[in-house]
Amino acid sequence: MREDNKIVFTGPVGAGKTSAIAVLSDVPIISTDAKASDMTINRKGHTTVAMDYGILHLGEKSKVHLYGTPGQERFDFMWDILTTGGLGLVLMLDNTRPNPKKDMHFFLHAFKNYISDVPVVIGISKTDLAPRPTTTEYAEMFAEVSQDLQMLNPVPPIFEVDGRNKEDIKNLVMALLFSIDPGIGAAV
């Protein structure tokens, strides 16, 4: 049996993808940050220009690769490569950005083929700085922006997260795993 052990983190610049991978990875993440040279500089000084990479080791023989996509849309040619196979998609959205609904629409549609086959979970970051939209409002937005999508899990988890907070990221990824199979780890 073939196993593609990969989780992909995506979302706009500054949403916390790199931090989330760093929280989970067993090894220091391989990050391809560079000094921002475009509009990104308004949001953060350095940003991921290729991808982030981390590993979760599961015993001696198997591991799960954690990939973070670059946030800028001009790197979207890489996304298909990153999403070949895999367990699921973690979409991180930044609540301080001007139009989170547009971001949600963009990333869900950019990965529309992928998420017809794997579950997606959505983490909303920086809600301490911008409390609206709330997760309830995101759920309403999601219903609108996903109308034309065929999704494996059409009612995905939408959680407030802090990318640096281990418990938040653990819960987000565990929600992804339970979205694949709610029966895993069940007591018998």
Binding site: V64, S116, P156, P157, E167, F178, I184, A186, V188
Partner: protein, 373 residues
């Protein structure tokens, strides 16, 4: 000792082709949730007779493996799955994403057709009422049912469920205050202010210590409720969102009991996931959210499928109902195709359930790893 229920032996055995662990997990769960037929995925190392096969034609090896399988075992029906069914005219193909309402009619149709049917058969792409299952394939037997009942009775008896009435008592008062936007105070039995509920602001202010709050939540029916007519209450120790408060307060009132408002034998469904990273943790909340957001299931079925403690499920349902995201009655069942439903009364006695494995290979190990971080 045979640890598997007899039901397993009477299931239709399905072989997966070209699928990874995650895709197999999706089918495994779909088979468990199906209410009419007993399908079971052939596990690694098992050598049982295969009744039918499902192939992922989009995977790198799937198409070649499916063609080999069809050539070598032409008597076994094979269902392909693909995002582009039109590319594979030699197979009967179900379009992705796979849904319960299309998968099972497609499998039923497949069993009705000769396995080596002409390649020009139209692809199975839409749901249609399933034809009656061949007599020989009926999985349920009296022996299996008896075995299942014995197995369940060791754990839990649905007839001994304890109920509470959310439309009476303190929870009803709090819900009414929220609904009617009336600022309200909750005091402990000694008259000390613990919470101010401010529905207009979507906030709840806390005035007690965490010890006092926890103590109050162990027996919430002893708390007092009164309209908040005073503005001078001193400084609150902290504040929380109204949803956060209603979630934990509803679970505390439930105390492992089932809400009378929620049907035990009929489907319930989550309208959306609760924001679990910002709500008081409840046991099994992630698993239950995933299960009940995916498709409707009765509380009884949920307990049996997920092997959760009934008290944990009842607390979760009460909390979800408290924040208004639980659907039941017509709202929950309207999303279930009629061919996927069975009368509630027959649910417990006719369906076969395979207990979930405690360890599901990669996913189980990954879950354990992340939970232990």
């Amino acid at each position: 000792m045979n640890e598997k229920p007899n039901a397993v032996a009477t299931s239709l055995v399905v072989q997966s082709i070209g699928m990874d662990a995650r895709k197999e997990a999706v089918f495994r769960m779909a088979f468990k949730m199906n209410r009419r037929h007993a399908y079971r995925l052939l596990e690694d190392g098992e050598k049982e007779k295969v009744d039918l096969a499902i192939a992922d034609l989009d995977s790198p090896e799937g198409l070649a493996q499916a063609r080999t399988f069809a050539r070598e075992q032409p008597h076994i029906p094979l269902l392909g799955t693909s995002t582009t069914p039109e590319q594979y005219p030699e197979f009967r193909v179900l379009r992705k994403p796979i849904r319960m309402e299309t998968l099972f009619p497609a499998l039923a149709q497949l069993l009705q057709q000769p396995a080596n049917a002409p390649a020009s058969l139209p692809p199975v792409e839409t749901a249609s009422p399933p034809p009656p299952k061949p007599e020989a394939s009926q999985p349920s037997t009296k022996a299996a049912d008896a075995d299942l009942r014995v197995s369940l009775s060791r754990r839990w008896n649905p007839e001994q469920v304890e109920y509470f009435d959310p439309d009476q008592g303190i929870l009803a008062l709090v819900q009414r205050a929220v609904r009617d936007q009336i600022p309200t105070q909750i005091l402990n039995p000694e008259g000390k202010l613990l919470w101010r509920i401010l529905p207009g602001d979507g906030l709840v202010e806390s005035y007690g210590s965490s010890t006092e709050e926890n103590k109050a939540l162990t027996d919430p029916e002893r708390l007092q409720v009164r309209v908040d007519s005073s503005q001078a209450n001193g400084q609150p120790k902290h504040q929380q969102g109204l949803q956060e408060f209603l979630w934990s307060f509803s679970a505390a009132v439930a105390r492992g009991r089932m809400s009378r408002r929620i049907p035990l034998h009929h489907p319930v469904k989550l309208q959306r996931w609760p924001n679990l990273t910002r709500l008081r943790p409840l046991p099994e909340a992630l698993r239950l959210s995933a299960f009940l957001a995916r498709s409707p299931a009765s509380p009884l079925l949920t307990i049996r499928m997920l092997q959760v403690e009934p008290a944990d499920l009842f607390n979760f349902l009460a909390a979800s109902d408290g924040i208004g995201i639980l659907q039941y009655g017509p709202a929950a069942t309207s999303t279930i195709p009629s061919n996927q439903t069975t009368p509630a009364t027959s649910e417990a006695s006719t369906r076969t359930v395979e207990p979930p494995s405690p360890k599901r290979g990669l996913l189980g190990r990954l879950l354990a790893k992340i939970a232990g971080l």
